[in-house]
């Protein structure tokens, strides 16, 4: 019995320790102000691998989710004779919730796991160590550009996701099911507010991007440099990022939309 309590306490301490370590790590990464001359090309390269390469999956998922929303929305709303509200429904769901959240989950799976594995392998093959021995701080050279890239790419991807989703919804709703196009857009425009809905969605995705990138690079940097260690770090990245995104989404939604 005592053993169980002790192990519970140890688990708690471990969790607190890892929070402390990742916070310290983040401070170390952000402390170094990126030098524009050397830092910029590195950032571009990471934006390419983190952002551009995630574009395909984001666009395809966005399209399908929008189309499904269109179909489902139509079936439900047509019972009440208000199919025209389909535009409003699709846009609000995508812009407020699904855009940021689903993009973040896809991002964690596509880019986050890749970041973790890459950094973990660099650690295992002593590339990080050798960089340090060459007088180059790997936190600034390797970690910082990846963190910033995730931070920047995420809102861009989320916004693209929402737009493609709305377009997919329109494809189904207007072109296939025959909702009048004018009321589709009109309903949407009268109910979606730029600051309250669109910008709050963007803020959400900025937060998610930061958290996902942070978890991914930290897991990579902190992993046990063996093949088993890297694989478990990659799994942890996806699991932790997804949980963090869903949990934070609730908190952010409560703060942003919870007051009425």
């Amino acid at each position: 019995m005592i053993d169980r309590i002790a192990s519970l306490g140890r688990l708690g301490l471990d969790i607190v320790t890892s929070f402390g370590r990742s916070g310290q790590f983040l401070a170390g990464v952000l402390a170094g102000v990126p030098r524009p001359v050397t830092g910029f090309p590195l950032l571009i390269k990471q934006l390419y691998s983190v952002g551009v390469l995630s574009l395909a999956i984001v666009v395809v998922s966005g399209l399908f989710i929008g189309m499904v929303l269109g179909l489902q929305g139509y079936t439900i709303l047509s019972d009440y004779g208000s199919e025209a509200a389909i535009g409003q429904m699709i846009a609000l769901t995508l812009v407020r919730e699904l855009g940021p959240v689903v993009t973040a989950l896809l991002f964690a799976g596509r880019a986050g796991s890749a970041l973790t594995a890459e950094i973990g392998l660099m650690k295992a093959t002593e590339q990080l160590s050798s960089m340090e021995m060459m007088g180059v701080d790997p936190l600034r050279r390797v970690i910082a550009p990846r963190l910033w890239a995730g931070f920047i790419a995420m809102p861009v991807l989320a916004v693209i996701f929402s737009v493609v989703g709305i377009w997919g919804g329109m494809l189904v709703g207007v072109d296939w099911l025959g909702v009048f196009e004018g009321s589709f857009w009109g309903n949407m425009q009268s109910s979606v507010d730029f600051v309250d809905d669109v910008m709050n969605g963007v803020i959400k995705s900025v937060v998610f991007g930061f958290v996902c990138a942070w978890i991914a690079v930290y897991q990579g940097y902190d992993c046990v440099p063996t093949s088993a260690g890297i694989s478990s770090a990659t799994t942890k990245t996806v699991v932790y990022s997804s949980l963090a995104v869903l949990g934070l989404d609730f908190v952010l939604t409560a703060v942003m939309f919870g007051d009425f």
């Binding site: 090309p41 571009i44 952002g51 551009v52 812009v95 861009v156 916004v159 737009v163 730029f194």
Partner: protein
Amino acid sequence: MAQRTTEIIVGLFMIAGLAALLVLALQVSGLSPSSAESTYTVYADFNDTGGLTPRGRVSMAGVTVGTIESIALNKETFQARVTMSIRSDVDNIPADSSAVIRTSGLLGEQYIDISIGGDMESLQAGDSFYSTQSAMNLERLISNFASGR
């Protein structure tokens, strides 16, 4: 050379993001550059606001002329005080107009409709509506009907 290609692709990526944001702003949320123009504030006191929410629209003859800023309780009269901002170019609302809470469609959102009065004077910034008509409450309507009043 490869570096340059990457830069161009990333540039396109960022532009696509900005364009998407623009679409969300203009096409989806209906934000038009002119909607940022100046407004003036008027008030209306309702006995019951029903499901009225901030950001709801204020319309005249079906045309949107403003938005609801806030809804608060007036502790002295126990009425709801609705603050709304009206577009500055609509500056000739007759002073004896009344504010009516209506529902768009059977299940749609509620909004404020201004029904026009006949006064020669117009509402000024900070004025309150002379008369108001509260939200139609289906339950009360039915109970009124049933009790024959």
